[in-house]
Amino acid sequence: MALGRAMGWRRSLDSGDLSSESLVRAAFDRIRALDGTLHAILATDEARSLDLARKADARLRAGERSPVLGLPIVLKDNLHWSGLPMTCGSRVLDGYVAPYDATVVGRLLEAGAIPIAKANLDEFAMGSSGEYSAFGPARNPWDPTRVPGGSSSGSVVAVAAGYAPLALGSDTGGSVRLPASFCNVTALRPTYGVLSRYGLTAMASSLDQVGPIAATAADLALAFGVMAGADPLDSTSVDLPGTERLADLQPLDLEGLRIGLPEEYFTDGLEPGVRELLDAALRVFEGRGARRVPVSLPHTRYAIDTYYLLCTSEVSSNLSRFDGVRYGLRVPSSDGGLPEMMARTRDAGLGDEVKRRILLGTFCLSKGYYDAFYLKALKARTLIAEDFRAAFAQADILASPVSPGTAFPFGAKTADPMSMYLADVFTVPTALAGLPCLSMPAGFTGGLPVGIQLIGPALSDVRLLEAAHAFQSLTRHHLETPTLSA
């Protein structure tokens, strides 16, 4: 049984027609049947999940109600869930067991959600395809010869393949939106700070955000609502206005909505099929009274360079903690020295893409290059953020492609890291600006799903989800599911 829609299960749990325990058992049956092929899951603790489900059933029988009470959820394996191994898709965390819960995980547990699995990912969330996991890639359920997108590959595949109706990923430069587009699900990157990063393994701290994933915006809102808000353990976290509207999301009235189309996003590199589906989606919005307005984001062409200079600089700092001293892998040194032990551990435990980013970031931050690269990129980031502020003077939301194309075959971009980075061209500008944005299904081209991106001003996350809900109330793309057999 595929566990597709959270809202349907929510009603069945509340009415008593279904128990959380039976839902969780169905989730594990689904994982056992399909994950040999799809490889979305890295770890489970079935007994613990079933125990949590039975406790949720007791709370339901006692009359308690919460948006996620009794619903299974999959967690990206860079989020701490106490007592389970956490690998971040890397061998350098060999043997590491999470000693605490991430704040978002703790809030979900308190509200009665049932974590069922830790999901595969690009190593330390560095990748756009899912191919950089040290444990082998997850596969796209629409075509297992193609990538699912990354870095939240396993989380998205888990929802697309019906393992669970909800999942958490993380998005540093597009890591929930790209796979959502490639696998026909809905994923939100919230405004920077709306979801606490405490317990999310840091990759690039000024960019990292936890991102909820589900079949639809209304489903995703169930989990988002119980997690959102300031956390004393994350000094960058903030409260979000309007969270009371998330438990029962209503479609936005589209009459008069100004949808900005950034002219710089419609380049020759955009596949015609993607462009056509975006245009068709815009006609759906227009049919309910929205109108298109042209906007310009003139510094878009500098976004990839800005992003990768900043991201790699932060990576080089954040990943210095994986050194074999306090946790994870340790490779002994040959002469007993500490520096050699650290270097051998890191060389053996970290993959090529992680090393590439660490080296590039170290270079950018090193004496003589800091001003030329890192500081310059910080200033370019200001210009990119100002572009968005100007655009939102003319438009209420922006619409764009998520990716220039559809899911590509395994190996198509791994030989050329720069071509992989360029796949993020439509997702990194919003990450740099800290803005809320989501990917939602818009149809198929060549038999493969295509997502479109909606972008809102800071802290407009709820309204953005309401706009997506309005679109999904008028379309059926999000209801399409892949044909899968055990």
Binding site: G324, M341, T382
Partner: protein, 94 residues
């Protein structure tokens, strides 16, 4: 931009990475490619532009430096590759 083999090895030392010989040249090429691409930022007029180090451009808040509950010693050591009498054991430093 030119990136030399020495640049790669210098960064590897700074980053505590002992690269294998066959890793050095591919890393050099990738760094050179990315930094050459990043030269696009030289086109921008950035005089007087404030840097944006944090998401949303807000200054990072500070909290009081007060003691608060944290891990116990046992919790902190639970994942240690090697430990002895409540301490992390590491190879000799000097």
């Amino acid at each position: 931009m030119d990136v030399t083999r020495e640049d790669v090895l210098r960064c590897a030392t700074l980053a505590h990475l002992s690269l294998c010989e066959d890793e050095v040249e591919p890393m050099r090429l990738a760094m050179a490619q990315m930094l050459t691409h990043a030269a696009s930022l030289d086109e921008l007029l950035l005089d007087g532009v404030e840097p944006m180090p944090a998401g949303l451009g807000r200054p990072l808040p500070r909290r009081e430096d007060e003691p608060r509950d944290a891990f116990t010693q046992a919790q902190a050591l639970a994942n240690a590759p090697d430990q002895d009498r409540g301490l992390f054991v590491v190879p000799k430093v000097l």
